[in-house]
């Protein structure tokens, strides 16, 4: 029983990271209808920036906020420089663009900070949470930060003018433009927010998986799985999907014989394909009707 509880809680904690990645993926998907394959690399790069600032002696939360701001700006710059000119290009061109971004970011991070594994500090420490042996403070912190983030996003989209404008621009670009919303900048804003959310995921997972240029490869796949499971059109679904994927991954690794650590990535694959086949819109997604 203790093992089960332990695994579920640990799954929820890693699920929090997947939830953050899935949130970032969904943000960009909402804005431009494409999946950002470079999301993980962008998050990794942000984490390296935070690490560099920590090395320079900036206190943790200072570095955290600065990294968020820089990632936000970086996301906007990438959108303006690379993806705005692509505009209505076919999907293939967009995929090529994301892959290019993936390769460039990965390679530049490797050149700047090399490929050795680095320690990344946790702001919460690694002692047991509230004296319980089930979960560490860092894991609790990961869950807490994700929930706060979700709450902030909820308020942003539900109760602010810009949030409303962003939703309008994503749902009905033409109509939104007619009522005076600058849809082009709403897309850029979505990119900035996605980059910032991704950087949070990167900084939270780095103490667990250690910092190196390829650290987000697996995490991104789980993030995709979470986003697909929850439904690509629903931020709340993405978060729930993230927690579900985390728990599912841990339970499968523990209880299905022969799965262990080796088969965890293929599990994500199986999950993606199964969900897409059984319910392509995900648990909380809306069906999109295509007209001829």
């Amino acid at each position: 029983m203790e093992l089960l509880l332990n695994q579920v809680l640990a799954g929820i904690a890693t699920g929090a990271i997947y939830a953050c990645m899935a949130l970032a993926v969904v943000m960009i998907y909402q804005a431009i209808d494409h999946l950002n394959f470079a999301q993980g690399e962008m998050a990794m790069f942000s984490t390296f920036i935070a690490w560099q600032m920590l090395q320079w002696g900036v206190p943790y939360w200072g570095a955290f906020v600065l990294t968020l701001a820089l990632s936000f700006a970086g996301g906007i710059v990438i959108e303006r420089a690379l993806f705005k000119p692509l505009g209505n290009a076919p999907v293939l061109t967009h995929v090529a663009g994301f892959i290019a971004l993936f390769a460039i970011v990965n390679s530049v991070a490797g050149l700047t900070w090399d490929f050795t594994i680095k320690q990344f500090p946790s702001p919460f420490g690694s002692s047991p949470f509230l004296g319980s042996q089930l979960i560490s403070t860092h894991q609790a912190g990961m869950i807490g930060v994700t929930l706060v983030l979700l709450l902030l996003l909820y308020f942003f989209f539900q109760f602010t003018r810009i949030g409303l404008a962003m939703r309008a621009a994503a749902a009905q670009p033409e109509s939104a433009r007619l009522v005076g919303i600058n849809t082009s900048w709403m897309v850029a804003l979505g990119w900035g927010m996605a980059a910032a959310i991704g950087s949070i995921a990167g900084m939270l997972i780095a103490p667990v998986v250690f910092l190196e240029p390829n650290m987000m490869g697996g995490v991104l796949i789980y993030g995709f799985a979470a986003a697909v499971l929850g439904g690509l059109s629903s931020p709340l679904g993405a978060v729930i999907g993230g927690f579900l994927v985390g728990v599912f991954e841990n339970l499968a690794g523990t209880y299905i014989p022969g799965v262990g650590n080796e088969l965890k990535l293929p599990i994500a694959l199986a999950l993606i394909v199964t969900v897409l086949v059984v319910k392509p819109t995900g648990l909380f997604g809306r069906a999109i009707v295509k007209r001829v």
């Binding site: 209808d33 290009a89 967009h94 090529a96 390679s107 993606i272 897409l276």
Partner: protein, 336 residues
């Protein structure tokens, strides 16, 4: 308009006449003569590199059939390449089968695997398919490392393969023999692919690519041809993988990561989507450019790859095909 719709929406690629999918007769003869003569003047290592170009060209061609032909695309070709490579390697080293005979088996197994993966993939289009295949490519090295298969696959260490000698006592070096062997296989595959795309099935695939709903209204069995395209593409990629394993004399899980899938995808974009001769241009690109880039700085090849990809997207959206057209236009002017 939702970008969820199929890839091909910009007019330039579709409006090009179908006959431009292949080279003309004269151009083909020139290319074949050049390819046959090339090893006579090159060193052994260069011959090896050219062999790899031909092998990647087959794999890029396979992806081109899938994307240029049926309008689906895949970031998971490295998985099928790996499957083909391991099939050949295991047959040769564990069961002692002749290397040439392993290729049809590799192709067949990959065809089945691709067809089966194509079945659920039927319900996915555009980015969803990219996502599923992306996950497949990421998961493949993990699957190859599994300790259940270790007796055959050699686990993390992989398998070492002996290089075949030239048969019948021909006075050719191993590299040169392998080059000509690969050349014959790739030409056969090229001719078969051109004919496939020209055939009834090929036209059905292209109809699906251009407008799936219209194609199904015309009576095209969309599900059948989409999965078939996936299977054929995977099968050809498997043959390329088998050849690659023989040429490199080594298979290991980490040779077949997402990087390989990205390289093949890049080769297709550089060569020009839907233009089969572009495959060899793209393959030459992915073999030689990383070498040149690493000459300047190790680890830079990724950035160079990425930058060139961006340049191509913006400057030459149709890759080498666009250059070929321009050159062709000059020739026509000269004649007049």
């Amino acid at each position: 308009m939702s970008a969820l719709q199929e890839i091909v929406e910009t007019p330039p690629i579709e409006t090009t006449p179908k006959k431009y999918m292949a080279l003309g007769t004269y151009a083909s003869v020139v290319v074949v003569v050049l390819l046959c003569a090339a090893p006579l003047i090159a060193k052994n290592f260069v011959i090896f590199q050219m062999t790899m170009v031909l092998i990647y060209a087959i794999a890029v061609l396979a992806l081109n059939i899938l994307t240029g032909g049926s309008g689906q695309f895949s970031l998971g070709q490295s998985a099928f390449y790996a499957l083909g490579a391991y099939t050949s390697a295991i047959l040769m080293e564990v069961f002692g089968v002749n290397y040439a005979l392993t290729l049809p088996v590799a192709g067949g197994i990959c065809f089945i695997a691709g067809y089966l993966f194509g079945l659920p993939a039927l319900r996915l289009s555009g980015i969803y398919l990219a996502l599923a295949t992306f996950a497949l490519a990421t998961a493949m090295p993990q699957l190859l490392k599994l300790h259940y298969f270790e007796a055959w696959t050699g686990g993390v260490q992989g398998l070492v393969i002996t290089k075949p000698d030239a048969p019948f006592g021909l006075p050719l070096s191993q590299d040169m023999w392998l080059y000509y062997f690969v050349l014959v296989v790739s030409m056969a595959i090229y001719v078969a692919s051109v004919n496939l795309l020209k055939s009834r099935s090929g036209r059905a695939m292209m109809a699906i690519r251009d407008n799936e709903i219209a194609a199904s209204a015309m009576g095209v069995d969309v599900a059948l041809y989409k999965t078939l395209a996936f299977g054929v593409s995977a099968g050809i990629t498997g043959v390329a993988g088998g050849l690659g394993a023989i040429a490199v004399q080594f298979v290991a899980p980490d040779s077949y990561t997402i990087q390989l899938a990205i390289a093949l995808f890049l080769g297709m974009v550089v060569g020009g989507v839907g233009w089969l001769p572009g495959s060899i241009v793209g393959a030459a690109f992915i073999v030689f450019v990383p070498n040149i880039a690493e000459h300047f700085s190790k680890g830079l090849s990724g950035a160079v790859f990425g930058l060139i990809l961006v340049l191509i997207i913006f400057v030459l959206p149709h890759g080498s095909r666009q250059i070929a057209y321009t050159v062709q236009g000059w020739f026509h002017k000269l004649r007049k």
